[in-house]
Symmetry: C2
Subunit: 336 residues, 2 copies
């Protein structure tokens, strides 16, 4: 058989237009990131670099860059601030890995496994401090306010998630509150700050905030759906981590709500950690599928992605807007 490469027409929404839109500016952001994660203490750039160069999508700084394109900002202050956003995100990932006892992150051994929990916590603290140094250099108190508030809200969301862990009675409303805080707050802030440095109206700030916030919720919902999606699992993604950790996510909340008494007893035992082996994971995936809970979670995500796209309607049509709308569609279609 001869190899013939056929490029299919793009059947699915993609992040590619947003990647293309922001590629040049992202090079500048990456230079700031690499420059500012340095330290005289060699372990700091080594550990930070393990995660930072580990193939993340840079989604949050990409939002800052895309929003700047959308509103036609001509300066470069947002490069430093986008790097600050990525540092905040990286710090939370490092601390999350310690909190969850993760073994893998982005398909590689997690930093805590290689370098230990102590160094991982401390390098997270360093990156977090460094992010504030970057913001202070930029000098906008409004940006500092937005991002310091987002950081506090993220931490609150993470603690709230911890408190809800292994609590089968967690409601959909509380779950939405948790992901709104731990994930969407930084998406919202990353988008909003582009309008702040460009000195655009409060209305534009709020539109970008709404875009980022709804997009963040959509991404998190789909992440949580994928963890119970056996098709995604067959495609080589890790599935079942949330289940084993007793994390309350929407697929479980819906399957539990829609289940009969026997099924509810299963979920109580499983989420409490009394039965959460491979056999129980298979049963959980079966129940989630039986009640269409992955599909329903994706439907919820579609709702928020729609709101994200709609929030951009105050801006004139442009390549940037189209790319951002497609990113919202992409958020929903991932992992199919």
């Amino acid at each position: 058989m001869t190899a013939e490469v056929i490029t299919l027409p793009r059947a699915q929404p993609s992040l590619d237009p947003m990647l293309a839109l922001t590629a040049t500016a992202m090079n500048s952001v990456n230079r700031v990131i690499l420059d500012r994660m340095q330290s005289e203490i060699p372990l700091i750039p080594t550990l930070a670099g393990h995660l930072i160069s580990g193939g993340g999508k840079r989604l949050r700084p990409m939002l800052t860059l895309a929003a700047a394109e959308l509103i036609g900002y001509g300066g470069n202050r947002h490069h430093k601030l986008a790097a600050a956003v990525e540092f905040i995100h990286t710090a939370t990932l490092l601390h999350d890995d310690v909190v969850d006892g993760s073994e893998l992150r982005r398909g590689k051994a997690a930093a805590n496994i290689i370098y230990g929990n102590p160094a991982t916590v401390l390098v997270g603290d360093f990156l977090f401090s460094r992010s504030f140094e970057l913001m202070v250099e930029d000098g906008s108190l409004r940006v500092l306010k937005i991002l310091s508030n987002a950081s506090a809200v993220i931490a609150e969301g993470e603690v709230d998630q911890l408190t809800a862990q292994r609590q089968i009675e967690t409601s959909e409303e509380r779950y939405l509150g948790i992901i709104g805080a731990k994930t969407a707050a930084l998406f919202a802030a990353a988008s909003r700050i582009a309008a702040v440095v460009a000195e655009r109206s409060e209305k534009e700030e709020e539109a970008l905030d709404a875009y980022g916030r709804n997009l963040g919720i959509a991404f998190q919902l789909v992440d949580d759906a994928i963890d119970y999606d056996s098709q995604a699992a067959e495609m080589g993604k890790d599935a079942g981590d949330d289940f084993r950790e007793g994390k309350m996510t929407l697929p479980v909340i819906l399957a539990y709500a829609r289940g009969d008494e026997d099924e509810r007893q299963f979920w109580r035992d499983a989420i409490a950690g009394r039965r959460s082996g491979d056999e129980e994971l298979a049963e959980a995936i079966r129940l989630v599928r039986k009640h269409d809970a992955v599909a329903a979670t994706r439907e919820r995500a579609r709702h928020f992605a729609q709101r994200a796209a709609e929030a951009l309607s105050i801006f004139p049509d442009s390549k940037a807007r189209a790319a951002m709308v497609e990113a919202a569609q992409f958020a929903v279609s991932r992992g199919y």
Copy 2:
């Protein structure tokens, strides 16, 4: 025997004059602390309160308040900033307890023992974010710069200390670099920011920075001396933690440098963790005493305390200055 209470004349330097000097303002700072550690997530004030109301001396915010008295600052902006300083300190203590696997903090079970590592890391993150929110509310970019830089330096110092752990070849110079970063940087920043809000000269800022920095080094040296001081141990203080963790502190560095080849072999084994039981701790204390390494560490502390006091010579004599000088003397005499 009848009980007769005799108040001895104060034979030793004390922190009392500084406590008295700052008592009223500290009430305001405590109100900010209690108000701003609140959150809708109940675990956050519970966990933070465990440490914050756990009887710490509030030494760092006290420096901000004392420095403000010294320079005659009449406003109240420094109350919020002193609370921010205490939040940074509390966040680092929470993370330190996770990093060190501490079981005790200030004589009580450490937060990580009661609430677990995950919540302890995340509440530390929350307090750290909250400290920046407080600074942003105050609105001074200079203060933000000083404290964000101090935070990054603290994290670097902690990582450096981690890297030096169990490394017998750590030099006195490197040790001084570590404690200058992990401890003295926040003492320096806490003192300096009083001059910033009072809009005093660079010279006064630098004098206060030097006071705080040298005082911080003196405090840390004496802390490290006490850990090898069997007299202090007999007085009910915990001793030997540093030894068991293989932390390289000045008493060990000096005893190792002054020891013969057999003694050096003992230290190599002990610090590497090959032999660090109670018997070895007793031997370590014996060797430290044999070489006067605790006394020499205290002598180093005296040198830095002297520099701290001298740095205040640019200010006219006052009750505040006398209290701050006595605090430096107190730093050296603690635990005798």
